[in-house]
Symmetry: C2
Subunit: 390 residues, 2 copies
């Protein structure tokens, strides 16, 4: 790929992340002159990826306001998939990360095999694809899954929540969708971290920790603006950090006392006295608001604070972001979390670490999956056109 | 600095890390032609930093063997300092990281203030400088200290072992040495990690964890070949990862149950029944070899294994290296460490993580300090010459 195509990708990336930008702003951000911006923009307009228009409120005003370059968010989209404990979600997400349409299905709890999950997701995705407005074009597919994902092919190496080991999730979803597009798969918390960094509570924070609560607790950790992968891409397994080796609760991984065993949904709902089998976001929301469950919330907050303190000591982050159902838990247990951090994190590190709720709310992982789907287009915007024309 | 000087630095770096290299090997590594290598080498020879010679064993042989470029290790050196629990060490370390000369003094245990530590180290350093052979030249100064160090000026922000908070260690050592050279200070485990990556048990392993045992436990973690700093350079505080929140031992940081409280020298020597006040490397070596202390060694190994398992889950490293007195502990307790890792680390991560003793033995942190001292010279080899000539 030549540097011209790479410049097209850079320009498209700017409007994808920041929304409409004037030619002048783009020239400044990219460090090139305005005639270069003009040429790049013309190509992207011809490719149907952006359009140019007068900025809102200036039409008809005197003078010549700089045109703004706006992503074709209604026309250019990806399919994004998200697998959560109680829901399977598919969405059509437009350039600029706008959710244009979405479908969700409850996820059966028992006997969840690969075919059932893939079949449901593929059905939702094909519906969205078929019902997309005429003229719109699907440029990629990304999926978020709670487990250890092999980056190269979306293989679920280990997903204790469903008991999956070496399940070819990405390959099967791609085959079942049959849209002629590859499916990129990422760990949900990794994707949430990248989405929060791009357009959520972590903008401008290259040293960022995102914690995602579902049945388990996932982590996405950015070090110097890059996702911590490690030797094989399996890093960030925050949920299996052992925090309670002496009398820890059993964990789905087979060990005891892992962070996710102490702060996950099962722990909260059991400590709050909910009947066995109760699960899901609504149950968590109800529990954290129940005055009778205050002791359970405090206990969960203590363990969460210990986990976060350890991460602050290890990573000296600028921000720690709580996503998924940890939004509800952190909102309810913040004083307990803060007290443990004060007790266990080194002062010079904890002073700088801000704690935040996910800026994208419940969409962090879904938007992260969409970003994964947009990656090839943003790397080479004309690749999509060639595909489209073929 | 122009690209020519940068190329000089790159060539010097190659022979510093790898030892003598032929012009042909240098040309291949740097991706330039041999005439460029010839020109660069000539300048470095003129600057007194390298010399060219026939490879060993080939002198007088038929044909024209490629000359090798050899660092002037006897002539060009840095001063390196290391502060350990029971010893203060200074060394003259030649280009290529050869320890040319060293001095050590016992470190008094009680009432250790900044002036006493700096005074002793500066005295050792000035002795080494004065006694260096005629014609040798000191190109930099690096120091390793056990604490949280502000990168910009070597300020010890937090050093619980000596009770130091915001002590201007680097600045004071520089003033006391009065050699007209800046003193660069780094955390001992950070430096140990970089040294092991450059020339120890971690060569070729960009995702590396180095654990250094002294009174405390320090960590140096490389992510993609770069030291994990975090927002302010205070990351990698492995020693204060809380592993035993229920009945943990008191830690020097004021908390309880930190990794270093469970596996540090105090924990080992107390569990092994040594009299209070016993400390130092010899005491550790004797304890781990004492059959009567087997239960203590097993217990320490369990806690160390839990800490390493957590790090494997978080970082998916290619190698975990044990340095300082953790060399002795790991050598004695390896089966206990391995059992805990098998129990608590995710299979896909633990399968790939090899466990190793420090390749540089007891010199990892000292060599790391020397590397810090060489950094300006390797960045711009002619800067040293200009300084030298002034």
């Amino acid at each position: 790929m030549n540097s011209h195509r790479s410049s097209l990708g850079t320009l498209l990336h700017h409007v994808h992340v920041s929304g409409p930008l004037s030619r002048a702003a783009l020239a400044a951000r990219m460090g090139v002159n305005r005639s270069t911006i003009l040429a790049l923009t013309s190509e992207l307009v011809a490719a149907g990826l952006v359009r140019e228009e007068h900025p809102r409120g200036t039409t008809g005003a005197a003078g010549r306001p700089s045109l703004v370059v706006r992503p074709e968010s209604e026309r250019v989209y990806v399919l994004a998939f998200d697998v959560a404990v109680d829901r399977l979600t598919a969405a059509r997400v437009g350039l600029g990360a706008r959710v244009l349409d979405s479908r969700a299905a409850p996820r059966p709890r028992a006997g969840v095999d690969l075919d059932a999950v893939v079949g449901t997701l593929a059905g939702l995705g094909r519906d969205l694809y078929r019902e997309a407005p005429r003229g719109s074009v699907c440029m990629g597919i990304g999926a978020s899954y709670t487990g250890m994902i092999r980056p190269v092919d979306g293989m679920v190496r280990y997903g204790p929540e469903m008991g999956w080991v070496d399940q070819a999730f990405g390959t099967e979803l791609e085959r079942s969708l049959a849209l002629g597009l590859p499916v990129a798969v990422g760990n949900e918390a990794h994707l949430g971290a990248l989405a929060e960094y791009a357009r959520g509570a972590g903008v401008g924070e290259p040293d960022l920790i995102y914690l995602h609560g579902d049945v388990g607790v996932g982590g996405g950790i950015l070090v110097g603006g890059k996702l911590l992968g490690g030797e094989g891409g399996y890093g960030c397994e925050v949920g299996h950090m052992l925090v309670n080796p002496v009398d820890g609760r059993p964990c789905l991984c087979g060990s005891r006392g892992c962070l996710e065993a102490e702060v996950g949904e099962y722990a909260l709902l059991a400590a709050a006295g909910r009947p066995p089998g109760t699960i899901g976001r609504q149950a968590v929301r109800s529990a954290v608001r129940d005055p009778g469950a205050a002791a359970a919330v405090a206990e969960i907050g203590d363990w969460l604070g210990i986990g976060v303190a350890n991460l602050i000591n290890l990573f000296n982050p600028g921000v720690v972001i709580f996503g998924g159902m940890l939004q509800d838990i952190y909102a309810a247990a913040a004083p307990h979390v803060a007290a443990r951090i004060a007790q266990h994190a080194m002062p010079v590190s904890r002073e700088r670490a801000r704690l935040r709720l996910a800026g994208l709310g419940d969409d962090s992982t879904l938007i992260g999956a969409a970003e994964l789907g947009f990656t090839p287009l943003l790397r080479d915007p004309l690749m999509g056109i060639e595909r489209n024309a073929s």
